[in-house]
Symmetry: C2
Subunit: 122 residues, 2 copies
């Protein structure tokens, strides 16, 4: 079934990561499960605002919520980040392949402009 890495997924993951508050949340969460209120405490914004950020992270599947009574325990889910990493790696490969091709081309030009020295030039 292969759920990972459709463009839509990438969009949501990257969008979720493109905010310092949310990155801070992930950082905190990567140290272990935290309750919503506890998580919100250090931020200079309302609990509601943090709650919304959490929803964005959930939508991107970067955060998982486990209900325990009235408390909601949040944890980090790294898989979407792996997908991003894979995309970036593919991009990097593309890029360096192009540089290699360019390099080859330049070397070819050199060979043409300055043929195997045998006197002759000049």
């Amino acid at each position: 079934m292969r759920t990972s890495a459709t463009p839509k997924h990438l969009d949501q993951t990257l969008l979720a990561l493109a905010d310092p508050t949310r990155r801070a949340i992930l950082q905190r969460l990567s140290a272990g499960e935290v309750r919503v209120t506890e998580l919100a405490q250090p931020f200079a914004m309302s609990l509601n605002a943090v709650s919304k950020h959490i929803r964005v992270l959930e939508r991107a599947h970067l955060v998982h919520r486990r209900r325990e009574g009235r408390e909601h325990l949040l944890s980090f889910t790294p898989k979407p980040m792996d997908d991003v990493a894979r995309w970036m790696e593919a991009q990097r490969a593309n890029w360096s392949a192009r540089l290699q091709a360019l390099d080859d081309l330049l070397q070819e030009e050199d060979r043409v402009l300055a043929p195997p020295r045998k006197g002759r030039t000049r």
Copy 2:
């Protein structure tokens, strides 16, 4: 002077990447310089829309523009992607360190709950 990797930079880079059109543009550009019109051609949107996307990519320093007469030649600049990769790598390290700590803890608990067997329990 160290320009790289302030949160603001990361925000702009990740935001720029969080759009399929812009990712496609980067893909195309990683194969070499392209003119704006040429670049816009395959997309089902106005030239102006593509022009705006390009501006977003420039703001994130993912694309460099070289003017040659009336033509603007665009090229891919990979450095901001490296910064993203570095952040993700740090995050990943954090995460696995936590898993390791958790693992150690569980092992410790095991040792406590089931001490070096010597009969005794039951």
